[in-house]
């Protein structure tokens, strides 16, 4: 704990601490301003003196390129991403940004205040913890920025653009939309980053809404099509309802505890969860909040809008929904379930264990079964995304069970970290292959509709490299070694099994007779999970078979439209998918570090 440096907004270290976010803000400004720079002048009234004020007017030739917003956004996102990476690389410095921080020299310490930063600062009792920069939040930022920058790169040739000399309304209109799209991407990234950093549930909620609103618009961005608008609308309505429920949950929680600070809520929960019965209010609140985040991770039965949204949105956007947006939901769930209603707070296991366990089973099974017969590749990927949410929920469930065995004292934290590592690893590599798959569809989309599996036909003949990429993404999604998807699934199974088995090994070496019934029931989650991944094999293979077996259909012949940007992005995804499968060690260590920093109490136990 003491490694965390407490700062308040606009301290001197503030810029260092929030550099990636500030880069995003700068990028946002740049996106808004730069495309508007022009030879506009202002005539000083009454004179002929024209003072240039640069906004508006005839655009400079340098910035008249309609692709410019894209470049700005990509640069910004990549910079932010690189910055996040750099913070890992150069030894992560942890910061807690609080609303108020007083130097010790000014005031004496009063009751409730805490000495921080090696005793040089006081944290007054009314001060709120707002944002925490540590391994966990940085890792999520990495996921968000990585995913969104890949999507941004891939979108660069997706949006219609016209030469700047074309002065038609349509051309102007479309060129203008370029900036809008990337602004929304950046705000989404911004919102997600806030979610990752937030230490106050309401701050988290704000970030969530920022990201959600951006994504609603992004989904509906193609308003020329029925599907686009419809998907956006459904996503918006169901999302709003979910977040409304979530917000109501927050308000109840606030009503109960008088605070939405994670740390304080956690203490309150610990105190309230007594064996003889718990107060109703926090449990209702917990349920409501679970719904709010459940929608974000698209857990069944809150997932219904997701397939429609994925199908309606352009593929890179759908990719963001399936990866970054989902990761955001996981952050929320992690904060809520593991910090606030933490398993430590209850003897044996967390209060939400059964509910989440059932949710995870329903989610993964529903997703896989629905995907089985789906003939729309995007919907199929959406359902598969539901299934993957189920796997992660299973992992979270396992963490909830980690101190089920009294004999586990001293071991449980390891298991929890193992599972958390697995979830983080999964989220990272999910960006590689799930987004990658969407990007492949994106290339196909630039040719025409991709609402039928048959659109993929003969891809191996038309674009062998793309087909190989898609193949790798598919088997990675299915969890076939040596792809990273396998590694993540293996980690997840390992984590769950470790939790379930606990220290049965000790009992075994004492000669006790144990059977699988003596393990915690979350072991069966692992079994359901592997069986589900076997089911999922079926529809992933169908994609492969369609690509390699069938001849190209109808007018879909020959190579696809080029677009080196999106191909680069796909290539990066392929490399990462394979690399993290074959050489997972570094990433596992990174995720382990992040998992460790989620909850210091685990490590200390």
């Amino acid at each position: 704990m003491s490694e965390v440096t407490y700062i308040q907004p606009f301290d001197d270290k503030f810029t260092t601490a929030l550099l990636p976010e500030l880069i995003l803000v700068a990028g946002l400004f740049a996106l808004i301003i730069i495309p508007n720079l022009g030879k506009a002048t202002f005539r000083v009234p009454g004179t002929q003196i024209r003072l240039p004020y640069f906004l508006g007017g005839e655009r400079y030739s340098l910035i008249s390129n309609p692709r410019l917003p894209g470049w700005i956004a990509v640069t910004t996102l990549v910079l932010a991403f690189v910055e996040v990476m750099m913070t890992f690389e150069s030894g992560l410095q942890r910061y807690m940004i609080v609303s108020e921080l007083l130097p010790t020299t000014i005031n004496g310490v009063t009751a409730g205040d805490v000495l921080v930063n090696g005793g040089s600062h006081i944290l007054p009792s009314g001060s709120k913890e707002l944002l925490l920069i540590n391994g966990f939040s940085r890792l999520f930022e990495m996921i968000f920025f990585g995913a969104i920058s890949l999507a941004a790169i891939a979108s660069m040739n997706r949006l219609q653009s016209f030469d700047s000399s074309d002065r038609s309304t349509n051309a102007l209109y479309n060129n203008r939309r370029q900036a809008d799209f990337y602004i929304l991407l950046l705000t989404a990234a911004m919102g997600m980053a806030i979610v990752a950093l937030a230490q106050d549930l309401f701050v988290l909620f704000l970030g969530l809404e920022l990201a959600s609103f951006s994504s609603y618009v992004l989904v509906a961005f193609h308003k020329e099509s029925k599907e686009g608008t419809e998907g956006g609308m459904k996503y918006f309505i169901v999302g709003s309802v979910a977040s409304g429920i979530g917000l109501y949950g927050l308000s109840m929680l606030y009503l109960w505890a008088g605070t939405l600070q994670l740390g304080e809520l956690s203490v309150a929960f610990d105190a309230a969860m007594a064996p003889q019965g718990s107060p109703a209010l926090p449990l209702i609140a917990l349920g409501f909040i679970l719904v709010g985040f459940g929608f974000k991770v698209s857990a069944a039965p809150f997932h219904f809008a997701a397939p429609d949204a994925y199908a309606g949105a352009s593929s890179p956007v759908a990719g963001i929904l399936a990866t970054a947006s989902k990761a955001m939901g996981i952050v929320g769930l992690t904060r809520m379930l593991l910090i606030v209603a933490s398993p430590e707070s209850n003897d044996g296991s967390a209060i939400w264990l059964v509910a989440l366990g059932i949710l995870s089973v329903v989610t993964m099974t529903w997703g896989n079964i629905a995907a089985l017969g789906s003939d729309n590749p995007k919907r199929m990927l959406a359902y598969s995304s539901v299934a993957h949410a189920g796997y992660m929920l299973a992992g979270l469930t396992a963490i909830g069970a980690w101190n089920w065995d009294p004999k586990l004292a001293g071991h449980g934290g390891d298991a929890a970290i193992m599972v958390m590592t697995a979830i983080l690893f999964h989220l990272v590599v999910l960006v590689c292959f799930k987004l990658g798959a969407f990007l492949v569809l994106s290339i196909l989309e630039s040719e025409g509709e991709v609402s039928k599996m048959s659109s993929l036909r003969g891809l191996s003949k038309r674009e062998p490299l793309l087909a190989v990429s898609m193949f790798i993404f598919m088997i990675s999604l299915a969890g076939v070694p040596p792809m990273s998807g396998f590694m993540s699934k293996l980690l997840m199974i390992m984590g769950i099994v470790k939790v379930a088995i606990g220290n049965m090994g000790d009992a075994l070496s004492n000669g006790d007779i144990l059977s699988i019934g003596d393990a915690h029931w979350v072991w069966w989650l692992a079994l359901i999970m592997v069986l589900n991944s076997a089911i999922s094999m079926f529809y992933y293979l169908r994609v492969i078979v369609t690509m390699y077996f069938h001849e190209p259909e109808g007018d879909r012949q020959g190579p696809l439209p080029s677009g080196w940007q999106v191909r680069t992005a796909i290539f990066a995804c392929v490399i990462a998918s394979v690399f993290f499968g074959i050489n997972a060690d570094g990433l596992i260590e990174l995720c382990e570090m992040a998992a460790n920093s989620l909850n210091y109490s685990w490590a200390s136990q």
Binding site: V238, G287, D308, I351, A355, I358, L372, G373, S374
Partner: protein, 744 residues
């Protein structure tokens, strides 16, 4: 091979070369096959090397030479029984509990004793002669164009299998070579692969023997489990035999006997043999007379030490009875079917079965005697056992020689009839040819045209019939006598004894019928009238075998009827040849025991008088006017003519009776086997295959289909209306409450 010579017995120096007997033909096979493939139409290959026939002949000659050298060395004394050398082949281990595994091994080696010597001579000698015959027969048959190398390759491999089986020193290797023979018989019977009948006959032969082989294999494994080895030197050791349970041993031997039944075409696994006549005649001679069918006899003969062991005394008589009974049944049944066959080779085939039945009966009674009598200590009993066993082996010998000769002679007849047919009709030989060169209906009166062949046939038939003093007489009398001897002791044996006695008469009938139908009487059609003499490749073996068969009185005198180890009266022993012959004659015709005296003459009356008489009264007759024949045929023809004219009677009633029809249909056994195959086995397997597809794979497919259906249902919940989605959110919320509340 690892391992080394292990026996301390001093051996013939030739025995060191014994492996060559097997190896030479075995190596000749790829050579012939390769050369034949490469030089297929080369004139030198075709004419000088006879498409590989000469290479085969050289290999077989060398084998025969080495065999004879070994036999010569061994004839002087039978004491050098046992392993020549042995090599380990398989090393493995079993675990019988306890702290370590027990290593076991299976080896290969050469083992020579009196039975080996007998069979070695039969096999090597007949293979060589048949090889000579084959060159004359195969290479002149235009239907064999350019594929005789295949015949010779398979032929030599077959011979290698037979010789290997005889020489090997363990039941395992006996089985291995036994199977190789089985393969070769399959290939040889199916030599005319394009004929569906040949293909089906080959399959039938392999399949039927395979069923026997399965039992044999299990029997061997049971035997192995009893002794921990399959080496003769170990399993024949009385000390080892004393240690095993008689019941288990009897089971094991019984299983092995079923193998022998299959191989030697005994009831009920006899069905393959008549069909196997689809192969070229040399093959018939080889498989059905000289070698393969004898393998089963050899196997049973090999069991002698078990029956003879003191510790087993009286324990194995049930098996001995079964052996004898199977032989008896087959002897009568096959003879009966032979009554009505018109196909020359088929008659011989059934005759083979019948005669093998004799040998089995002989072996059965010999084994019974060995098992019941106290022959280790009682010299009289010893003689009885040795003579009984010797008689059976001698019949094997006689039959092999005679039947080999008969087949070759019949081949010669068929060959020439075939030629005559072509010569006459000048048509291309094709498969649509209706003419059946093997049917006796197309022959008759050939005695004048093919004197050597007819002679050989005559002598061979006489030998099989047991005409006094010729070949089979000695051995057959011995078998019948011993069968009755046992029957007096053990009434169960009345059945096989009666069978063999009855069979003697039946043999007389069908063999005579065959001869007179073929050689006596008038040519039944134009073709038969134009048959010419045969070539010298074919004549030579006939000539040699005729001599051997005729000289069996000498062989008998030399002690062939006492062909057993530690006989006080062993081969060419102190008695000398003349004394030996006298002894045999006296023993046969002037037995001191009144029962056997009468029995002998009853048998002679049946086999040599009644049977032939009946046959002659029905078939044959005088030759065509103006046809001249060799002087030694004249009495036969005249007798036939006389009987035919005087006693000819209309047998239509019998020939069309139910029994005759049943015999013509082989007693419907084949029919029911086929029925069982088609209805039960094929039907069942089709059902199982269907179940595999419908039920096992069907379950998998069901899962697939059902999951697709469920998927459709699940996806139909996504109705497309945002209101429904929200409803689901609400339901989900309630469920979450429920579960959180439930826990809390």
């Amino acid at each position: 091979m690892s391992g080394s010579s292990s026996s301390e017995v001093v051996h013939s120096s030739m025995a060191e070369y014994a492996p060559l007997i097997i190896l030479l033909p075995m190596l000749a096979m790829p050579v012939i096959l390769f050369l034949g493939k490469v030089f297929n139409t080369n004139p030198t290959w075709k004419n000088t090397l006879k498409e590989g026939g000469i290479i085969a002949l050289v290999a077989m000659g060398a084998s025969l030479f080495i065999s004879l050298a070994i036999i010569k060395d061994y004839l002087g004394s039978f004491s050098n029984n046992g392993d020549i050398f042995s090599l380990t082949w398989l090393n493995t281990a079993i675990w019988e509990g306890g702290a370590s595994t027990t290593p076991i091994s299976f080896g290969f080696g050469i083992y020579i004793d009196h039975i080996t010597v007998m069979l070695l001579f039969v096999a090597a000698f007949l293979c060589f002669l048949i090889n000579i015959f084959a060159i004359g027969y195969m290479n002149t048959d235009p239907i064999n164009d350019n594929r005789n190398h295949r015949f010779y390759a398979e032929f030599v491999l077959f011979c290698a299998g037979m010789l290997g089986m005889v020489l090997s020193d363990s039941f395992l290797w006996l089985f291995i070579f036994w199977e190789i023979m089985g393969l070769c018989s399959y290939l040889l019977i199916g030599f005319y692969y394009e004929r569906p009948s040949a293909a089906s006959a080959a399959k039938k032969a392999f399949m039927t023997t395979r069923i026997g082989d399965v039992f044999l294999m299990i029997g061997l494994i049971m035997l192995w489990d009893l002794f921990g080895s399959l080496d003769y030197s170990i399993v024949f050791d009385p000390a080892n035999i004393a240690a095993v349970s008689p019941g288990s041993l009897q089971m094991a031997l019984g299983m092995m006997f079923i193998g022998a039944v299959g191989k030697s075409a005994q009831f009920p696994l006899h069905v393959w043999l008549p069909d196997a006549m689809e192969g070229p005649t040399p093959v018939s001679a080889l498989i059905h007379a000289a070698t393969m069918v004898n393998a089963g006899l050899y196997l049973v003969a090999r069991m002698f030490p078990f029956f003879g062991a003191e510790s087993m005394s009286g324990e194995l008589i049930d098996l001995a009875f079964i052996i004898a009974s199977i032989g008896g049944i087959t002897a009568v049944m096959a003879a009966g079917i032979a009554f009505v066959q018109d196909d020359l080779k088929k008659v011989l085939a059934y005759s083979t079965m019948s005669q093998l039945g004799y040998v089995f009966t002989g072996l059965g009674v010999a084994l019974w005697l060995a098992n019941s009598l106290d022959w280790h200590h009682d010299p009289a009993a010893h003689t009885i056992v040795v003579v009984a066993f010797g008689a059976a082996l001698f019949h094997l010998f006689n039959h092999a020689m005679a039947k080999g000769m008969l087949f070759m002679a019949s081949g010669s007849v068929i060959h020439e009839v075939h030629h005559a047919h072509h010569h006459l009709h000048h048509d291309d030989h094709g498969d649509d040819d209706e003419f059946d060169a093997q049917s006796m209906k197309n022959m008759g009166g050939l005695a004048s045209k093919m004197p050597i062949t007819a002679t050989a046939m005559l002598v061979g038939s006489a030998s099989i019939m047991g005409l006094p003093l010729i070949g089979g007489f000695w051995s057959k009398e011995g078998i019948i006598a011993n069968a009755w001897r046992v029957a007096l002791e053990d009434p169960r044996f009345l059945f096989p004894a009666a069978c063999v006695l009855l069979g003697a008469g039946m043999t007389g009938f069908y063999m005579t019928r065959m001869w007179v139908k073929t050689f006596a009487g008038k040519p039944s059609n134009e073709v038969a009238a134009h048959v010419g003499p045969t070539n010298s490749w074919i004549k030579t073996p006939l000539f040699i075998l005729t001599f051997v068969t005729l000289s069996s009185v000498l062989l008998a005198g030399m002690g062939f009827t006492h062909w057993a180890p530690d006989s006080e009266y062993s081969f060419l022993s102190d008695k000398g040849l003349v004394d030996g012959i006298m002894y045999e004659l006296g023993h046969a015709f002037a037995n001191h025991d009144a029962f056997f005296f009468i029995l002998t003459y009853v048998a002679i009356a049946l086999g040599a008088i009644l049977g032939p008489f009946m046959a002659m009264s029905l078939f044959g007759g005088k030759l065509e006017e103006g046809e001249d024949c060799k002087p030694w045929f004249k009495p036969v023809i005249s007798l036939n003519n006389w009987v035919y004219n005087k006693y000819h009677w209309d047998n239509t009633g019998i020939a069309t009776s139910g029994l005759a029809v049943a015999l013509q249909n082989r007693l419907y056994i084949d029919k029911y086997y086929d029925l069982a195959m088609v209805k039960i086995v094929a039907g069942f397997s089709n059902k199982v295959a269907e179940a595999d597809t419908k039920i096992i794979d069907g379950t998998v497919k069901q899962i697939e289909d059902k999951s697709q259906k469920i998927s459709t249902i699940v996806r139909s919940l996504t109705t497309g209306s945002a209101r429904d989605y929200i409803l689901w959110v609400a339901i989900g919320t309630l469920l979450i409450f429920f579960f959180i509340w439930g826990v809390a």
